[in-house]
Symmetry: C2
Subunit: 228 residues, 2 copies
């Protein structure tokens, strides 16, 4: 019984990998760098995007956003004022209310994405610290956002998520001093599960780290080209 279950799961991941590669080829052909933005519910993913993409300097990026949610358009609505292409992708309609995005869902959104007008596509995943790590969607890089309000133990509790990324953002650092969060211990735990991963400390409230995140996005095409 268990063996069959694992076999089915492996087949599903194989199929996902195949579709993810097809997505990646389409993105590459259009010259679009793609980021898979992951994190827990309320980690601050959408607010970070609002801040990073609101600055006029970010306009040089020609960015678009694919918003992944179980249902509704709340996050996409929050980005409308940025006047950039934003597409909502819901996992409840036809996808069974899944707790993560997969390559096929992203593929279904392709026709709605104006890839020719973009240099950067940010795919905001469903807020979840378990399943998104298992499904690549055709991205060049993955970012894991963790808020200091969530606690310093999260890298140890959800190691796959912190391992399956090229950048870890420690967000809401304006709350340090108001929450029981020891940054040294967090970084120690992170180093235990993903040695050497890049880390950025940010606060959408104070603006700390926002310029650095924008620079990281802008440098993505060069880094992607160097590693692919």
């Amino acid at each position: 019984m268990h063996r069959v279950k694992v076999r089915v799961a492996e087949d599903a991941l194989d199929a996902n990998a195949t579709i993810a590669r097809a997505n990646r080829e389409d993105f590459d052909r259009a010259g679009v760098s793609v980021v898979n933005l992951m994190g827990a519910p309320g980690a601050g993913k959408t607010t970070l995007l609002e801040r990073v993409l609101a600055d006029p300097a970010a306009a040089a990026l020609r960015a678009g956003v694919l918003e992944g949610d179980v249902q509704g358009t709340l996050d996409a609505d929050r980005l409308v004022h940025l006047h950039i292409p934003v597409v909502q992708l819901n996992t409840d309609g036809g996808f069974g209310g899944e707790c993560h995005l997969d390559a096929n869902m992203v593929r279904s959104a392709m026709p709605a994405l104006p890839l020719d007008e973009l240099d950067l596509l940010i795919i905001e995943n469903v807020g979840n610290l378990v399943c998104p790590a298992e499904f690549r969607v055709g991205e060049d890089a993955r970012i894991m956002v963790s808020s200091v309000a969530e606690g310093e133990d999260k890298p140890l509790k959800y190691p796959l998520m912190f391992r399956a990324c090229e950048l870890v953002i420690v967000n809401k650092i304006d709350l340090l001093g108001h929450v029981d969060f020891d940054m040294d211990r967090f970084l120690h735990h992170l180093d235990a599960v993903h040695p050497g991963v890049s880390v950025l400390l940010t606060s959408a409230r104070s603006g700390q780290g926002i310029d650095e995140l924008r620079t990281w996005f802008a440098g993505l095409p060069d880094r992607a080209g160097a590693t692919v």
Copy 2:
């Protein structure tokens, strides 16, 4: 294709409901009230338990905890000093690293639970705002913990979770004033998805609401008896 997928999902939920009923019968026979404690990663579920169960007055409850996590024993380790029965249930060993508990996983932990010594069993689910709502495990009541650091939009984004519970805890209210969280709007959103649900405001840091939560746990057998 879609139709087949939905059919499989329905069969799985039917099987889960059957096992959940068997769990419930075992709990009832032993006279144990059972709570399914749900919430996002970092909402403060374990810390709330530490506070509620640490007080000597709580000893009258004869409580035990079943800790659900993808892997590791971090949360269970945090409760060891309470000197109550704590059993760790991991979803990675044999359960495929699932992002939620289901009735079968809880059933597998039954032999490790000293039900005869308990009046109350608290099952702390995997931190996730999507899938736990779909799987009953044999509980009398479900609690949904949401931290003010997660934002006031969560009831609208994850309505199933806020609907599938008898009590909503708004936690970390000591952070009000340091985060952008409008309590009236949160309660308005909550009322839209689950009219009339009980709400408790808590802070494990300041202790606010902890006594009330302990009283809620203590009154559970009477309420369960009244509604079943």
